[in-house]
Amino acid sequence: MTEQPQLKAKDYKSDQEVRWCPGCGDYAILSNIQKAVAATGLPREKHLFVSGIGCSSRFPFYMETWGFHTIHGRAPAFATGAKLQNPESCVWVVTGDGDGLSIGGNHLLHLMRRNVDVQLLLFNNEIYGLTKGQYSPTSGVGLVTKSTPMGSIDEPVSPARLALGANASFFARVIDTDHKSSAEIYRRAVEHKGTAVIEILQNCVIFNDGVFDHITDKKTAKENQLHLVQGEPLRFGAESDKGIALVNNQPTVVTVGENGITEADLIVHDEQAGAFYGGLLAGMDSQTFPAPLGVLWAHDRLSYEQQAHEQVGKAKARPGAGDLHRLLHAADTWVVE
């Protein structure tokens, strides 16, 4: 084992040529993650990147860490095994909206409820990139794609709502190219003990270009982005005068200063508030509300591998534990002479 000097983002670049389309949002994510990984201060070998199949899932090849490009949709299961086997490692799961929510939806669901301590990067481009442009479970109704010439009729999955439904302990949302928020969110995700789901709004320039423009467009960003800050009220807008309040028990966009609304009426962001508040954020549809960005919720609960190894530890502490001779004889035995 060599000495481990403090590593920089570039030390996490592998020697493999990056093979995404020019202009793909994945490049920005790669660069942000390389920085985030460097920021952990952990040596390279402590990072395990596990992915499924898709453009996004090529990610591990570009990281100078351990990497496993597995099969379509199953990355959470591989990661669960790896983390149980090696609980000291820092495990990252890389998946796409097709990989993670279509074929892999169930594994994602069970990963989240079990709360295995991994960072799950969900590259959401609302399309199947690698297979050249079919609609995905997050695609909007009406989207015309190769497989939906008359428009998609499937109600899209909301990753946040699904994560809430599965009782995920941490959920954040970030824009691919938002370097500043990325640094903070990935740091928080690494610190979180349990499954940290990060939905990354990722632009696919080839098959779904501009699908997040209504959120990411610099001109309207202030109106359409709701940056969540712990302990601060839910405020947004070019003038920062808009906010979210409960009106008749329903979350509603209000303007501070209008209709007698004051800052005190606004809901205050509390990552730990629980499922009810999480539902409020997750349920904010993009027609009516700005897009909540940042950490939507972060609850503490024991991680899966920790509990599993606690049981192992307890069992090992029993007298006579782990003795193969004893185990083989642990039954009614008889002697033949």
Binding site: L48, M63, W66, G67, T70, A77, T333, V336
Partner: protein, 618 residues
């Protein structure tokens, strides 16, 4: 000699006996049979058992499909199967009689709980009249119609246990009677009852009395003309024995393999009959550092195991046929990326959901070929319940030495069947090695091969040697993604060659019976006992017949071809519609013939003797 006449009771010494207990799922037949087995084993007989239970949890009382059975053979000499036809059959109700009677040996002992032969039960079993009243029954068998339930209920009256609970002790009455009939000691079962019902004194007392009363009934009722004695086995290898089922033995082998390879054991699994008990058993061995993960499905089960193996664990996944179908894509990844681990398939009757609680050997071809692309994978099959222990170790040895996923095949018959198991000395077990790497990080290439054609197995997380792997074709040595035509050809051939190479390291096949001659019988898996016994019988009677048993199905042993060449004919008996036979014909171009039983049941020795004789005469 007419049945029912009073006479003095003779004790006949016999070599072996086959007993079957049958009743409703709720009648405790598996327990009763288990006790009889343990006692016989402990007494010093060789034995083999065959439980047979319905797919329903507790099918409604008295129904035909709710019948649960347990058969065992015990003997004064070496035996390998639970026997063909029972010499004695205990039935707790009409449905059990209906389902089992055909199997009883003509002239055999039939014990019935006459209290259960009421109108309702007769009707449920589809009897128009009470078969116990049918004189032909008594002509063909020695019938003992006994009020087992009433005896149990009466005991309950003495011990203060309510009728419903007391009634349940009727199986102990039956067991006691059988102990008497076969001259077995009751002490082991008494002990077991005490440990089980220690905290429920009425129940304990009722059961103890029921057991003894059953025994006493045999002694005193003067119904029985004969009783039997099966003496201790004399030719047994010395050592400490225990009774073991195939699933238990598999689990112990898995724990042992972890210890022998000095790696912590990981099992990723999803419950499925008849494999679930391995998961249950393993979840109780956390004291060895065993981590069991009950996954959301079979796919997650194997993927978690591959993930754990990638991170250096001695990893397993357990399932049965339909689960293998689901795992096949991930199995392809493990073999493409060359990850060592073992996939255990406890085979059951197929296709599809098929006969979930019955045995079959019909997944061999699936295991050989059930993956996209050219995807060779080593296969090991266990021969008997106890052999599952060694087969699990052997599968691990191959997986870790050659850095490849390996399939271990057992089946429902082995899984639930039991036999005495000579407990090995831990130090006598082989140690298991895997190729590592001790060069510099700069020189390291994750797919550079050693003489076995194996790549180094380095746990993810190891410093300095980090690299990326995956299912896209990998360049020779470096493992980088490669779409190059020649590389793919070479890698495909290397993967095949690596598996073929395992054959160089296998022990020579053992031939049972004639070393050459008229007929070679080739078997594999759980039919070992029946085939070996049948071939010994035939050979003993002067026939020119020999058999080999394949523990390794892929690659086939190097000497098989030469052995085949020594015989005029080849027959392959299988519990499927012809699977191994395809390999034998294809590889050795020999016109092998099949004996195919597809009934969810093991071979009978007698049917094999008969069918093999026919082949000999052809």
């Amino acid at each position: 000699m007419g049945i029912g006449e009073r006479m003095t009771i003779q004790k006949t010494s016999i070599d072996s006996a086959v007993v079957r207990f049958a009743g409703d799922s709720g009648d405790g037949m598996q327990l009763t049979g288990g006790q009889f087995s343990s006692t016989s084993a402990w007494f010093g007989n060789d034995l083999a058992t065959l439980p047979d239970y319905p797919a329903e949890i507790r099918a409604p009382k008295g129904t035909l499909f709710g019948v649960s059975g347990f058969q065992l053979q015990f003997a004064a000499q070496d035996i390998r199967t639970p026997g063909d036809q029972p010499d004695a059959l205990v039935v707790m109700n009409p449905a059990a009689l209906k389902v089992n009677l055909d199997d009883l040996r003509p002239g055999g002992v039939l014990v019935c709980d006459e209290d259960a032969f009421n109108k309702r039960n007769l009707q449920k079993a589809g009897y128009e009249a009470n078969p116990l009243d049918d004189p032909s029954l008594k002509e063909r068998y020695r019938v003992y119609s006994i009020a087992l339930t009433k005896m149990a209920v009466n005991i309950g009256k003495e011990t203060g246990l309510g009728n419903r609970d007391a009634e349940r002790a009727k199986n102990m009455v039956a067991l006691g009677l059988m102990y008497w009939l076969y001259d077995r000691p009751m002490s082991l079962t008494e002990q077991w009852l005490k440990s089980k019902f220690g905290r429920k004194p009425e129940i304990l007392e009722t059961n103890l009395r029921a057991l003894r009363q059953g025994y006493a009934f045999g002694e005193t009722a003067e119904l029985f003309a004969e009783r039997y004695e099966v003496v201790k086995q004399s030719d047994t290898q010395a050592g400490i024995y225990r009774n073991i089922t195939g699933n238990q033995a598999t689990a112990l082998g898995m724990v042992a393999a972890g210890e022998l390879s000095n790696r912590s054991v990981f099992l990723g699994s999803y419950p499925i009959t008849p494999a679930s008990d391995i998961l249950h058993e393993m979840s109780r061995h956390k004291d060895f550092g065993v981590v069991t993960f009950q996954a959301e499905d079979e796919i997650a089960g194997i993927c978690s195991a591959i993930g754990a193996a990638w991170a250096g664990g001695c990893a397993w996944t357990t399932t049965s046929g339909p689960g293998i179908a689901l795992k096949s894509e991930a199995m392809g990844l493990a073999l493409a990326a060359e990850i060592p681990m073992v996939i255990i398939n406890v085979q059951r009757g197929g296709p599809s959901t098929g006969l979930p609680t019955k045995t079959e050997q019909s997944d061999l071809l699936q295991c050989l070929y059930g993956r996209n692309g050219d995807s060779p994978m080593p296969i090991v099959a266990a021969a008997s319940p106890g052999d599952c222990f060694y087969a699990a170790i052997e599968a691990t040895r191959i997986a870790q030495r050659y850095v490849t996923p390996v399939i271990l095949l057992t089946d429902g018959y082995l899984a639930n069947g039991a036999e005495p198991f000579l407990i090995p000395d831990v130090d006598s077990l082989p140690t298991i090695h895997s190729p590592g790497y001790d060069g510099t990080a700069e020189d390291y290439e994750p797919y550079r091969r050693n003489d076995d054609l194996a790549r180094p197995w380095i746990a993810a997380g190891t410093p300095d040697l980090h690299h990326r792997i995956g299912g896209l074709e990998r360049a020779e040595n470096t493992g980088h993604i490669s779409y190059m035509p020649d590389n793919h050809q070479r890698m495909t051939e290397l993967r095949a060659a690596k598996v073929e190479k395992i054959a160089e390291d296998l022990p020579p096949l053992e031939i049972v019976g004639a070393e050459s001659g008229d007929l070679l019988v080739i078997g594999w898996g759980g039919t070992w006992g029946a085939i070996t016994t049948a071939v010994k019988t035939l050979h003993g009677s002067g026939k020119s017949v020999g058999s080999v048993h394949l523990r390794h199905l892929n690659p086939l042993p190097a000497d098989l071809g030469e052995i085949i060449g020594r015989y005029k004919k080849v027959v392959v008996p299988e519990l499927n519609n012809g699977q191994l036979i395809r390999l034998v014909r294809e590889k050795y171009l020999v016109d092998a013939k099949g004996i195919n039983k597809i009934q969810g049941k093991p071979f009978f020795e007698t049917e094999l003797v008969e069918k093999l004789s026919a082949h000999l005469e052809d």
